[in-house]
């Protein structure tokens, strides 16, 4: 594994996969180093761009709202056009594998939609599978809320109670229903993925259609958990809609959310076709750095340490939860290069009393320039062949803004392009950017 490659991407969440895709599409040789599979595999399958403005106001047009963000926000650093490039790259790729993602639009302008979750809440999001018809949600008068016996995560009665709290949803007529389970003897509590897989087995679509057909009669909308197949391009949702003669919307689920796995599926297939190398279960614990360049990454995996090299690096290592950012008493540091991350000296200021408010600690992350290269504490370029993407970046708060996937895919895509360009330049000058090719 000492072999030098063009671009190493650390992390295989949405940011990492988009970076790898961008670099591979540029013809670069790409290696993904990944500890765990990243949260895309358990996500909902919808892509948030910007759901709430910094003042907490609900955002209808994320593109317009982007202009109001702080200058250090990743979207501000890139600018809307570059964000759009990443978004287009994602939708074009998933569509190639049968999964069409698209935003709702009003007056010809794309906008956010508030999509129901299996908890009966509404969540603003931007891209949705094309089986979602956002207009159907508003127009519907008689709504069947379906779930499956033995599936504890989604309770129709709870969903209905909760949805009624929203003015737009208060005056609909609701019909709760539990369809029979496709499993004879389950020893565990079923999750949405179990059911989505069951629906893809022989007899699965008959089970779904047969159980819902009668119950959906007279309804103009069916809300159900995301169980219409686990694969990108599964035809089940469309078949179901046709058979029932009314719109069917898969509510967003807690993990495993199934939809994210469909996106991951499409991206992984694309990356495999491009020959991207995936090194799994490898933990990047440090780096060799000299004269403002990363020379190698130190990997630790199952009792062995080794170094791996590339001409350019993309770090999509995640935030505090993902392990890219380490919190220590009195300070926060970026894990691989030990970059000092700005946080108030007084720990009491890291958080605020409102638990669902925007916490200072959730905005901690790597500060970067407009090419996504890391900056040091004085704002000077720290490393010239390293690019950061996704949740490891500071100055945004995905939990509050609902911007997680948007930032990940936009910064991932641009970081991948920048790394590819740098690696290509190193190739052309015949010099390995990492100091010594074999």
């Amino acid at each position: 594994m000492s072999r030098t490659t063009d671009v190493i991407v650390v992390g295989s969440g949405l940011g990492g996969l988009m970076a790898a895709l961008a670099a591979a599409r540029q013809g670069r040789e790409v290696r993904i180093i990944s500890e765990g599979t990243g949260c895309l595999a358990i996500g909902t399958g919808c892509v948030d761009l910007l759901g709430y403005a910094p003042d907490g106001a609900s955002v209808e047009d994320p593109w317009a709202a982007m202009a109001e963000l702080a200058p250090a926000h990743p979207y501000s650093l890139l600018g809307a056009e570059k964000v759009r490039e990443g978004l287009d790259a994602l939708t074009e790729t998933t569509a190639r594998h049968g999964l069409v993602l698209r935003p709702a639009s009003r007056d010809g302008k794309p906008r956010n939609t508030r999509v129901p979750t299996i908890m009966g809440t509404l969540k603003p999001t931007y891209l949705m599978p094309d089986t979602f018809e956002p207009d159907d949600l508003g127009k519907a008068k008689r709504v069947l809320v379906a779930s499956v016996m033995g599936f504890r995560d989604c309770r129709p009665a709870l969903v209905i109670d909760q949805l009624r709290r929203y003015p737009d949803w208060a005056n609909k007529e609701y019909f709760p229903c539990l369809i029979p389970t496709p499993f004879d003897d389950a020893h565990r509590a079923l999750n949405a993925l179990d059911l989505a897989r069951a629906a893809e087995r022989p007899g699965g679509s008959e089970w779904l259609i047969g159980s819902l057909k009668e119950r959906a009669e007279g309804c103009d909308l069916v809300l159900m958990p995301p169980i219409c197949g686990r694969h990108a391009g599964s035809p089940l949702a469309r078949e179901l809609r046709e058979a029932l003669g009314c719109p069917v919307v898969e509510m967003l689920s807690i993990p495993p959310g199934v939809g994210g796995l469909r996106i991951r599926d499409a991206l992984m297939r694309e990356l495999a076709a491009l020959g991207v190398e995936l090194v799994e279960n490898a933990n990047v614990i440090g780096a060799g750095v000299a004269e403002g360049k990363c020379l190698s990454l130190d990997i630790s995996s199952t009792g062995r340490n080794y170094a791996t090299k590339a001409r350019a690096y993309v770090l999509a290592t995640g935030g505090i939860l993902g392990g890219g950012v380490l919190l220590e008493p009195g300070r926060a540091i970026e894990r691989v290069f030990g970059l000092d991350l700005a946080l108030p000296a007084d720990v009491a200021e890291w958080t605020e009393p409102e638990i669902f408010g925007s916490q200072a600690v959730s905005k901690v992350g790597v500060r970067v320039d407009d090419k996504l290269r890391p900056l040091d504490a004085n704002g000077a370029l720290a490393l010239e062949n390293v690019f950061f993407a996704g949740r490891s970046l500071g100055a945004h708060d995905p939990a509050v803004e609902k911007s997680g996937y948007g930032v990940a895919l936009a910064t991932g895509w641009q970081a991948g392009l920048a790394a590819a360009e740098l690696a290509a330049a190193a190739h052309n000058t015949g010099e390995a950017a990492t100091g010594g090719e074999q």
């Binding site: 765990g36 990243g38 799994e280």
Partner: protein, 402 residues
Amino acid sequence: MSVRVSPDKCIACTTCVVHCPVARVTPKFLGPRMIGPAYERFRLLGLAEDESLTYCANCKNCDITCPQGVPVSSINMLARAEHCKKHGTSMRDWVLAHGELQAKLLQLIPAALKNFGMLNPVTRKVLDMFGIDKRAPLPAFAPKTFRQMARKVEQPSLPRKVVFFPGCFVDVYDPQTGLDMIWAFNRAGYEVITPEKFGCCGLPMIANGFWQDSRRQAKRNLAEIARWRDQGIPVVTGCPSCALTFRQDLPEFFPDLVEKHGAGVLEDAQDFLLDCVDRGELELEDKAPGDLSLIYHAPCHLRAQGNGLPGLKLLQRLKGVSARNADAGCCGISGSYGFKKEKYDIAQEVGSELFHVVRESGADFATSECGTCRVQIQHGSGKKALHPVSILRARLEGRRPA
């Protein structure tokens, strides 16, 4: 057992649940998150074991995919050992865990007779009643063990040396792969030492709950590895499961032994050979006539090692060879798991996607580093499966692999 793994690193994100091949095919299994870290909290309170613990195949996809670094499979194997200590183990599991010992006991019986004795329909029926599925692809004993054959190989005297850890599968059932390995290392300028002292890595014993037996193996193997390591001679293996056992399981389960003897790292033979190529020690002149297309299966225990897929890379360096990664998940066998009567159907269903990809590939051969993966692929897809180094040898010798 003195070792316990803390379950509290688990944040219940369900990533392991998504990627567990057994949970995918049967709802009778609680799934990695529940049977691993979640149930561990009940175990720590002394509550009874959950019956579905035996469904864990120890394939390690939970460990591979966990974003928090929780050793889920280790929690399961420790729990299994504890359970077996209290409630005993079955005769069937003993047989499956001690293949090497049985081979030793039977070594004076000619292979043909042994195989007739073991693999004839009557015995298979008895074994089936005993819990080893009659449809399972039990491998046949080789006429001579690899180590018996290795002694007779006339190696050139070479200044550089490696020590080869064959693993039971190569030693007992598949000596040809071991001989191909010797050939390849000789070709790269390394004399291959195959010590008599090495025994089974202990993984089948760990997976079947025979903790003390596994510890005994570890003691012996670690002492032997230390001897060669101290002389600066690298120890390599072509078997990913053996390598992973030394890298991950032994330090986790028997930290005192690892402290005493030092880490018993086995290097991946394919990675070593690839490095030989990069250093100019091994020339990959593909002399075979005609092109060869291969469908490659990455063993889960190789993916768990965090070193990529060097065996595939090695094959892809050969000019006339096109090797494609099947990328279709676990083959289902997990050592002895897929031989068990109550697991056979699960194992076949786990592997069904891979079998499909292999069959549809139109490739000349399937290839994979792991011996039991190869057995399972052949059984499930009908396509002959070879070790990458066997294919490497055939190409460099200018012939078709066989």
